[in-house]
Symmetry: C2
Subunit: 333 residues, 2 copies
């Protein structure tokens, strides 16, 4: 049976280009005992994947050259050799970028999006929403009335983080990369305030102006100069949730910047990184809470859906350039 896959052809230097990827014709492997054949419906395009393409920071998560990219995928079971799933089940998992994927049953989960599109298992009710949920509730632990500052606020994670902050009673300020995104997070998502970092001359002054009472919880997807400015305005006992570093993913060298330790001491502040997988045993709890908030109309969500398996590389590069409003997803079948 005919199949296609997308592999990493070369480790990108700086911003990836489409030449770093290759779309290859291939076939469908045999389905093992306990395995399923999945027809890919949606592919998740996420900033953190750039880190897995780094030649400089190789680790056991680094993508191998000439092997398929791997990421969040939602698909339909078309054949099952396991009792766990039946034909027609919609499942999600971390799987290779292929049109048809063979996986073991334990590699995927049944999608629990209920009344929502199944692509939500990759976005609002998947790793994006869960990153926001666990980051905010487990690390940020905001109290009513505190100021939450969110970078990449119109993105798949930031848009959820800010709305969860609103539900929990925070004053929420977002940073985005376009005026349209600023409008979106304020008018459609209900952020209290937001600004376009591309218009900013003095970042420290701007953060101060938008967060006049300082920052209690800082949900950071970006790093770099915005982080530096935000760190100068954190309050006593601030919590900094380090979710992403999109401003550094294309760096060729280990990035340098102002040291944070003295500021952490003087503010008795906490800075904590995480990966959403750390909370995998609690995903069901997270999804249930997010579904409840959505059902009550407290969370709006936007997906930026592009059609066509072959457009994954282009969409990935576009996302790193900030072209998407909301979560970037590819529709395959």
């Amino acid at each position: 049976m005919k199949n296609r896959q997308i592999v990493l052809k070369s480790y990108p230097k700086g911003m990836p280009s489409e030449e770093d990827f290759d779309i290859q014709k291939t076939t469908v492997e045999d389905i093992p005992e306990d395995g399923v054949l999945i027809k890919t419906k949606f592919i998740s395009i996420d900033p953190y994947m750039r880190g897995r393409m780094s030649e400089l920071h190789q680790n056991n998560m680094t993508f191998k050259l000439d092997q398929p990219i791997e990421g969040g995928i939602v698909g339909e079971v078309v054949k099952s050799n396991t009792m766990m799933f039946r034909k027609g089940d919609i499942v999600a998992g971390f799987l290779p970028w292929k049109e048809y994927v063979v996986a073991y049953g334990w590699e995927v989960n049944k999608v629990q999006t209920r009344n929502y599109p199944s692509s939500y298992a990759l976005s609002a009710l998947g790793i994006a929403g869960l990153s926001a949920y666990f980051g905010i509730t487990e690390i940020g632990k905001p109290k009513e009335g505190e100021t939450l500052f969110v970078t990449s606020a119109a993105g798949g994670v930031g848009s959820m983080a800010g709305q969860i902050g609103k539900i929990l009673g925070c004053h929420v300020v977002g940073v985005c990369g376009s005026d349209e995104k600023v409008r979106y997070v304020k008018e459609e998502l209900g952020f209290d305030d937001a600004f376009n970092y591309k218009d900013v001359e003095d970042m420290e002054e701007t953060v101060k102006k938008y967060c006049p009472e300082g920052i209690d919880v800082f949900f950071d997807n970006v790093g770099g100069p915005i982080e530096d400015a935000a760190m100068k305005h954190i309050n006593k006992f601030a919590r900094i949730i380090v979710c992403g570093q999109i401003s550094h993913y294309n760096d060729e060298k280990r990035p340098q910047g102002p040291r944070v330790a003295s500021q952490l001491i003087s503010k008795s502040a906490l800075m904590q990184g995480f990966m959403v997988r750390d909370y995998r045993k609690r995903f069901k709890e997270g999804v249930n809470q997010l579904v409840e908030w959505m059902a009550m109309g407290q969370i709006q969500y936007n997906e930026n859906i592009i059609n066509g398996f072959e457009n994954c590389p282009k969409a990935f590069i576009g996302m790193l350039n900030g072209e998407n409003i909301g979560k970037q997803v590819i529709k395959v079948f």
Copy 2:
């Protein structure tokens, strides 16, 4: 009645010199209602005080010029206008560097060192010991068998942090600034291992060699290149206790270095600063635990006591140069 005080004459540029301080003759103020007159017995000399002398990073804790330095002091009540204290009571508090200090009753606490010298209220059973205790137990939360890496390991705080780590079942590795200190922490304090950073050519390789299983808990008093090397070797879910930054206290500019955020993400690690005062409501609990461990012989402690009020500036500078083994204290009367 004659008195002497030590004031900050100028904000030090880089390493402080004795010219930045002035020893002045003065008199004893009137004792207010609810006040006490205290004859200073011991003065605590601590690295963090350099931060309060910074012209660059002024805040509400910055010492004012021509005003007495303020820090941890133990003294004897020689006159009391409050029911809280009687003549002869030994008290401790954050007070000005004066031979005779007038304070309100609520500014000081009765010393609870029991069978130990009263100077311990500034050291093992004071802010040094309590910094180690709350840093390790509240932020580090070590599990048995984990590796604890401690900088400034022979100092007042580091020596306690490492020993508490041993009590809690850690493999403890210390960094010191002399071979004598290395011997001291290994042979007298029971650290599993230690090295002299001044002998190190490749810090990253050295940390790797001394912590072959990586670092789970990092108690940092220093910052700078040792922190950078340690950060490269943290394990998944590592906790970094940011207690001090002695390598940066003399910096004239905001120090730059490798950004930590990406490493915090990839290791799901936590980095938290604190001030011991954050835990002031629990000091009694901390002292009780430390006294218990001392009584059982599980904690050894060394004070480096220098005689003479006038030697405070010299001792402070010496401590910043790493001359002391154990906690630096001045004996006044």
